[in-house]
């Protein structure tokens, strides 16, 4: 029978694949300069050093995204698409809005001078890594947590734009049906069913935290953000866990938001930021310094309203930032007034935050650590020189 010999062929093939990994170790790229070592304005293309001795594939080509985007005339930005406040598509008007969306616009303004030359690709949590790895998007700005594994496999993380933590949201209405003492801590959730999205750090943290607290629970894993919260609202889970900002944002879409309460626990650190593909230092620097530009603009008091008059300022720091002095833009591969484009398109960090998550919005998220370092927060831009 023809089919019988396919079985051993498949098995032999799988063994060969396993064997391959011992013969050809993966080409390792050395660690890129991390933002903890600020002050490298001139990009130096680094050649990956091949591992000693073994046959390796040719060094992968560096660079290219900046020119590719310029040729295309459009930036392709991977976003969430279902998270109000961060990246959300209004069905009726077809307008995208949100914190991450504004950062996509900022990068487009920096590279192309036009904040509207962006195509938004909604990606689920499971999809975002491979999408970045296979070139489906140029940059991933999708409330992605910075971890070692992701830094080495998905792409390089630009500076954190939102310092968040993992939280737990409980359905008080469901609880009230069966108990008078509502849950306040993680230990109170013993025996509960908890909804979580697959492919997120929250999935891993949940298992770790509950094991550390010695709490037994059941997970209910879903592939997309919508499914997760719909299942939670329908009552198939007692609680849902995710980044606190996401919980607050999605709560506003519920039929009865007051029935859902965030527990007063912070289960992990969740630094969220943009991600660019590996092996493109030029592009990494562009995105990194765009983010820093918004931090620095807030620090220097430059806003969307006054950026044009600040161009004529005497302050040398502002002059270098806005490009009236020096060639910093050209060093990055951009126009010298690229920061002016960025700030006039989306404003400084504070304005971006307030517009999407601030007191005027349904979310009203306290800035917490998301403040400039001069105000006691964690936002610190390296000097522009």
């Amino acid at each position: 029978m023809r089919r019988t010999f396919l079985l051993p062929i498949v098995l032999v093939g799988m063994l060969a694949i396993v064997g391959c990994q011992t013969a050809t170790p993966p080409a390792q790229t050395p660690a890129q300069p991390t933002p903890e070592q600020p002050g490298q304005p001139t990009p130096e293309p680094q050649q990956p050093t091949p591992p000693a001795g073994e046959a390796t594939p040719a060094p992968p080509p560096t660079g290219g995204h900046l020119q590719l985007i310029r040729d295309r005339g459009e930036l392709i930005c991977g976003v969430n698409g279902g998270l109000p406040g961060f990246s959300f598509l209004e069905e009726g008007t077809g307008n995208w809005s949100g914190f991450d969306v504004d950062y996509c616009r900022a990068v487009a303004a920096a590279v192309l001078g036009n904040a509207d030359a962006v195509r938004f690709e909604p990606l689920s949590a499971d999809d975002r890594g491979p999408a970045l790895q296979t070139g489906l998007v140029d940059v991933l700005i999708r409330n992605t947590t910075w971890t070692v594994t992701r830094d080495t496999s998905w792409g390089l993380f630009a500076p954190t734009t939102f310092y968040d933590g993992q939280g737990m949201m409980v359905n008080r209405a469901l609880e009230a049906e069966r108990t008078t003492t509502p849950a306040q801590t993680l230990e109170d959730l013993a025996g509960a069913t908890i909804c979580v999205q697959s492919g997120t750090t929250t999935e891993l943290n949940l298992a770790d935290q509950m094991a550390a607290a010695g709490v037994q629970f059941t997970t209910s894993v879903f592939g997309t953000i919508d499914e997760t919260y719909q299942a939670y609202e329908a009552g198939t889970c007692d609680a849902v866990t995710s980044d606190r900002s996401q919980l607050v944002a999605r709560r506003t879409t519920f039929a009865n938001p007051d029935d859902h309460v965030l527990l007063d626990v912070v289960m992990s650190k969740e630094p969220l930021g943009p991600v660019v593909p590996l092996n493109d230092d030029e592009w990494f620097n562009v995105v990194k310094w765009t983010v820093f530009a918004t931090f620095e603009a807030e620090e220097q008091g430059i806003t969307q309203a006054n950026v044009q008059e600040m161009v004529g300022s005497d302050n040398p720091v502002v002059q270098r930032l806005l490009g009236t002095e020096g060639e910093l833009g050209a060093a990055l591969g951009l126009d010298n007034d690229w920061v002016v484009n960025v700030i006039s398109a989306v404003g400084n960090y504070g304005e971006i935050y307030d517009r999407n998550l601030g007191p005027e919005t349904p979310f009203n998220l306290d800035r917490g650590p998301n403040r400039p370092w001069t105000e006691g927060g964690l936002l610190y831009a390296p000097p522009y020189r």
Binding site: E91, P122, T134, L136, A255
Partner: protein
Amino acid sequence: MTAERLPPPSTAVGPLAWLRANLFGSPASTLLTLIMTVIVVAGGLLIADWAINHARWGVVTNNLKLFLVGLYPFEELWRVWVALLVLSVLTGYSAGAFGGAPSRTLSNWLAAGQATLALLALVSAMSMTTVVALGANAAVVWLTFMLGLRLGAPRRLLTFTWIGAVIAIFYLLQGARGTPLELVPTNLWGGLLLTFMLAIVGIVASFPLGVLLALGRRSDMRAVSLVCTVFIEVVRGVPLITILFMARIVLPLFLPGDLRIEDVYRAMAGLTLFSAAYVAENVRGGLQAIPSGQVEAAQAVGLNPIQTTLYIVLPQALRAVIPANVGLFISLLKDTTLVYIVALLELLGIGRAVLAQAQWFGAHVEVYVFISVLFFVMCYTMSQASYRLEAQMGVGKR
């Protein structure tokens, strides 16, 4: 003395007899009939009550544009109508000029489908342009059918027109930068439009590939035969969803680094590869059914192997497997719903996106029932047409 002729007893002919034979033939049969009647009537009443009194059909009528064309920009919708017009004209004309059950089935189906959609658009909140466009297209199919019957057309001209039309339709729908038609990126295609694009491209592209694979599998050259067999068996042995994932993640890695393939094209590639293996098996069955006498006669007449395959073997084999291939097209149409798992917003994906709107929370059943009914209508009409086709061709009777 002639006896009076009485009519046959009422229990032997007529509706009463039919009832007796078919519903109450034996005690067991009677019992079954009673139980089934109760279940059917009760179930029917429940469903009717739900559908009329409790169901929120607004989720469908308010979002019909999303269901039909996804996120396609409003200002560019006229391009979809023009593309449909091109398709309608050509289908109707080909059906009229060539006759043959397949093309006639297709044109009937196209006309009926567009008429139904026009009715649906009329009931929903959609603009009159949509209703008029769809209704006019349905009428155009009939008109060009009549025209084709009268005028006829040379085969070669029609083939070239079809090829040109396909390119024109793609250009109309997608456009390109720098040309009069602005680019509508494929990630805005959605709903029924995307379902059809995926299914049609899938079946059309997989057909030649499948035929080649089938011929390769039956070839005498061991290497070619082995490669084709392995490909076919591997593709048929894995779920479609893994192939779609492979197309999404692995396929781009096979191409040079700076070539970026759109999401939709990756899904089309996956569907094409999957469908090609099944087409290959169908065609192989057809090839096996050709008596060897045909090949021998062709050799006797002096045709070389390529000519034999092209002019003698393939036409007969392909004619024999048309019904099986129609079944394959129906399966592929249903399988396009799987691309929702790779984050493309075809009909089911749009349905779930619509359900994410806060006001329609809980209207899940309405949306899924609507999508099921759409698919049912499309697939059922095609499968009925396929049965008639089979009967007409007398497949298996020659």
